[in-house]
């Protein structure tokens, strides 16, 4: 009984460590917003915020970019499922998903910019032979004032995320059966999808869509790189307030409004969902069979290929620019190549890399340990199954939690400490790790344990020799995701680290305005390579672990 209590306390300890900063962050934002923190924020911040000329333009811009990007992600995902499956492109789509998911937002944003500015690669490739442009055109700029550059960046990055979530659900939906039944009844494939499959699929990817919507409405790093500056998006506007001591209350008030806005958007999305489902229900029974998909299939395939090609080209741009010496408009490739900046600028490249690796490995180890502890205790019935709590950091805007967390850290004198930064990375990585491992842990056949126990294996022996190796694949995947999440963290590192920890994410964003484009490319490339290597390792390592066992089995 004693041990039972002790171990379940361990589980609750893990959960408390996870929840405490979320509560502290919330209170640390709530109280200053109402001016209740002496010394930090003594008068309420809402009136200051509403009086600021940038408030409404920033709100409008945020809603515009956030909703447009989310809608486009949803449309692209559906188009991809309906049009691209069972074509030759499909294999390439599947192959491109994991690397595109692994690449951090900021790095991809840099790649996108290298493509789409008036002097970017897309214009270069077609100039001057097709366009006649000897100099870059001047009828658009990127980033643009309406935030379309940001929308593009968000779509390119979030589309693979939603697609992957949808793909994970398809096997349980029996798509083939639905399609063949529908077709037997004479419905076109597009109608089979819209009437039979999508209504089942949507509820299963709703949580992912909400995460994407929340992210699109509150992102900071990508908005700094791709968003307009005057006015900026709402989160970026709040970032400009939070470091102004007289503005802490206003910044906190804004962070609360952002959280409420995101929540209201969830409700709005739910309402929209209901309307669409009413409309779809009426349509479903109208009996029309619809034309064939063939006409539109080509367009869909083209669209999806273009988006994916765009991301991949963005990454190629990072490689090209990092090895460039001279490359002017309108040349499609650099005039002079050089690997020199990799060597001469190693002083500004190596330190951030090392720091990112430290935080990533720390985050990975701590997140895996915490998740395994929690899920093991859950399996042993020492703690209950909890799913919703892990979603909190993914659904609440980072700005909202981190402003408060920073305020608390500031009051406690813990800001600028590496442990605080590591702690924040852990909080943001743990949800993904738990959610990935939970399925594997819960579906793991208990017969393995019984068999191993019967053979005389104790708890630890069974865990380390049977359970963990069998789950090596999800464990490695979760570890890779934890590493990718840590490497991409901009806001926690900046706010809680007091700017002292120049990781790749920080270095890339803060120095973007001024640094040599070739160094920017090198930084972004390194920030992309870390998670890519991790995902590659996640494919290889389980195979290496299982190989000798499989051989023994065959013998």
């Amino acid at each position: 009984m004693e041990r039972r209590t002790a171990t379940s306390l361990l589980g609750w300890g893990v959960l408390l460590l996870f929840v405490a900063p979320l509560c502290a962050g919330f209170l640390g934002t709530l109280l200053p917003a109402f001016g209740l923190v002496p010394g930090l924020a003594e008068t309420e911040g809402f009136s200051v915020l509403f009086a600021d000329a940038r408030f409404w333009p920033a709100v409008r811009l945020t809603l515009q970019t956030g909703f447009l990007a989310t809608a486009l992600v949803m449309v692209l995902t559906i188009v991809c499922l309906v049009c691209v499956q069972r074509t030759r492109v499909w294999r390439w789509v599947l192959a491109s998903l994991p690397p595109l998911l692994a690449v951090p937002h900021a790095a991809l944003a840099v790649g996108v910019l290298f493509l789409i500015t008036p002097s970017g690669w897309v214009a270069r490739v077609f100039s001057p032979w097709l366009t006649g442009w000897e100099r870059p055109p001047d009828f658009w700029v990127a980033p643009d004032a309406e935030g379309m550059t940001l929308v593009l960046g968000l779509v390119v990055k979030e589309f693979p995320f939603l697609l992957l979530a949808a793909l994970a659900q398809l096997p349980s939906l029996n798509v083939e059966a639905s399609l063949s039944i529908g077709r037997t009844l004479g419905y076109s494939p597009a109608r089979c999808w819209s009437r039979l499959i999508l209504p089942q699929l949507y509820p299963r990817i709703r949580s992912t869509l909400l995460i994407i919507l929340a992210f699109n409405l509150s992102v900071v790093d990508m908005a700094l790189l791709l968003g307009p500056g005057n006015p900026p998006t709402f989160s970026v506007f709040l970032m400009s307030l939070v470091n102004d001591p007289g503005m802490r209350a206003a910044a906190s008030a804004g962070a609360l409004i952002l959280a409420l806005g995101v929540f209201a958007s969830f409700v709005g999305l739910y309402g929209l969902e209901q309307l669409i489902s009413l409309w779809a229900k009426a349509r479903r029974a109208n009996g029309r069979r619809g034309a064939t998909l063939n006409r539109w299939r080509g367009v869909g395939v083209g669209l999806v290929s273009a988006v994916l090609l765009f991301s991949v080209l963005g990454l190629v741009m990072l490689v090209l620019w990092s090895f460039t010496r001279r490359w002017r408009f309108p040349d499609a490739l650099p005039q002079q190549w050089s690997a020199a900046h990799w060597a001469t600028r190693s002083d500004v490249l190596v330190q951030p890399l090392v720091l990112s690796v430290y935080f990533a490995i720390g985050t990975m180890v701590l997140a895996i340990v915490a998740a395994v502890v929690w899920l093991e205790l859950e399996r042993l019935n020492r703690v209950p199954q909890i799913n919703s709590v892990w979603f909190i950091p993914l659904l609440v805007p980072q700005v909202t939690l981190l402003f408060g967390w920073q305020a608390v850290a500031l009051l406690m004198g813990a800001d600028g400490h590496w442990l605080t930064v590591l702690y924040s990375h852990w909080v943001y990585a743990l949800p993904y790790v738990v959610l990935i491992l939970a399925t594997a842990w819960r579906e793991h056949d208990p017969a393995w344990h019984h068999a191993a126990n019967t053979l005389g294996g104790g708890y630890w022996r069974v865990l380390s020799r049977v359970h963990m190796p069998l789950l090596a694949k999800p464990l490695c995947q979760a570890a890779a995701v934890a590493l990718a999440v840590s490497v991409a963290q901009y806001l926690p590192t900046l706010l809680l680290g007091a700017g002292r920890y120049q990781t790749l994410a920080i270095e890339l964003v803060t120095s973007f305005g001024g640094v040599d484009r070739r160094v920017i490319a090198a930084l972004a490339l390194m920030q992309s390579l870390l998670p890519l290597l991790a995902f590659f390792a996640a494919l290889i390592v389980p195979w290496i672990i299982m190989k000798p066992r499989a051989r023994a089995w065959q013998r």
Binding site: P245, L411, T510, G514, D516
Partner: protein, 406 residues
């Protein structure tokens, strides 16, 4: 005085309910701004100095890395460059720390400031004390008004000079052979189709450019040397807004989308998206051409009647953890060795604050040997205009944001 040697007596990390909590017990500071220099150097050995400085230029970042290596070797001081986007944010953090009473163990030991940020620090007593007059190298610094008065605010030894700067324009002779020589000419050029843009204030280069425009356009230039008077602000600045109202629709981005730094305009010049770039470094073009970031055909110039110039400084906050170390760093940054490297466009190209006549032959040669190249602002060609009083920066920035920022 061994016992006075600063060391963290206890550093215990507690995982509390709320966050990781790092408790540092208060430590005694033996060093005062006027302490004996040998005592400062002795105390500094082993200290880590967090230097908060704008990190938007990789050349500057590399220069500081070089300085860090030398400081470690010569003084046993570890210099950590904390790269910031806008030093005003750090001033804000210090004000917040002051409000919550964090008077010890601050996060910032040394910071790169001037102008309105220094004025704000001085006003709110965020500086430590007159350490600058106590540095070993103070006696080789120039006697110049911009070193004694930072944007008209008396320096009083609260900050130590680091380098000089002047607003300059870089143009590509292959595209534009005879660039505009005044604000008025610039407008004519831009309306006539020349490509131009500037970083939106409060970005440093943007604020400086509109101050430059104001100096040229206002009917009341003597008002700029004094603190802003709310009663006359509109009258003094009216010509500026009329000018910008005409200029903005003609800019790259139509006055709705702006580059975020002066360096970004340099990149846009290389891309061909603008015809004139802004810089605050008369030698930046040389460095950029040599490293392959600008074409050989660029040249640097200033307007016919001159452009704004100033001095930038380093200062130590009142709650710095490593004050002795920070003094050693400030002093090293003034050494002929460090200043000569900084003046070299291959590394940075920032004009020195030293009086070359006060150096010995060998040290002077290190400066005169520097090849500034044809791309830099020709020496002696740029008339320097004084900065308006520090209060103008914020007032202009706010007025600009109200008009064009949303």
């Amino acid at each position: 005085m061994r016992t006075n040697t600063r060391k963290k007596t206890a550093k215990s990390l507690l995982f509390s309910l709320l966050a990781t909590l790092a408790l540092s017990l208060p430590t005694a500071h033996a060093i005062e701004p006027d302490s004996d220099w040998t005592a400062v150097v002795e105390e500094a050995r082993g200290q880590t100095v967090y230097f908060n400085a704008w990190g938007g230029s990789d050349r500057i970042n590399s220069y500081l890395q070089w300085a860090a290596d030398n400081l470690q070797e010569q003084y046993g001081v570890t210099l950590k460059h904390v790269k910031v986007g806008d030093i005003a944010e750090v001033v804000g953090q210090l004000e917040a720390a002051k409000q919550v009473g964090r008077n010890e163990d601050g996060n910032v030991d040394l910071m790169w400031v001037n102008g309105e940020n220094f004025a704000a620090m001085k006003r709110n007593s965020l500086t430590w004390g007159p350490f600058a007059d106590n540095l070993e190298h103070t006696n080789i610094v120039k006697d110049s008004p911009s070193i004694q008065f930072d944007f008209s605010v008396p320096v009083d030894g609260l900050e130590s000079p680091w380098g000089g700067a002047q607003l300059v324009f870089i143009h590509d002779t292959a595209v534009m052979d005879e660039p505009p020589q005044s604000a008025a000419e610039l407008l004519t050029y831009v309306v006539g189709g020349a490509r131009f843009t500037y970083p939106a204030p409060p970005a440093f280069h943007g604020t400086t450019l509109i101050k430059q425009f104001l100096i040229e356009l206002t009917d009341n230039p003597e008002a700029l040397a004094k603190p802003v008077d709310a009663a006359t602000f509109d009258e003094v600045t009216e010509p500026l807004w009329v000018y910008l109202d005409t200029l903005h629709p003609e800019l790259r981005g139509k006055g709705k989308s702006w580059p975020n730094s002066g360096e970004a305009t340099r990149q846009l010049l290389d891309d061909g998206e603008v015809d004139i770039a802004l810089s605050f470094n008369p030698n930046e073009a040389t460095a950029a051409v040599r490293s392959g970031q600008l074409p050989d055909s660029v040249r640097t110039y200033v307007f016919r009647d001159g452009t704004i110039g100033n001095t930038h400084f380093v200062t130590i906050p009142w709650n710095a953890s490593a004050k002795a170390g920070a003094m050693v760093v400030a002093n090293y940054l003034l050494s002929p060795e460090a200043q000569a490297r900084k003046a070299n466009p291959d590394y940075w190209g920032d004009p020195t604050v030293l009086d070359l006549t006060r150096l010995n032959e060998e040290d002077r040669k290190a400066f005169t040997d520097i090849d500034l190249g044809v791309w830099a602002l020709p020496i002696g060609s740029g008339k320097v205009l004084p900065e308006p009083h520090a209060s103008w920066a914020e007032a202009l920035e706010q007025a600009w944001i109200e008009r064009y920022g949303s």
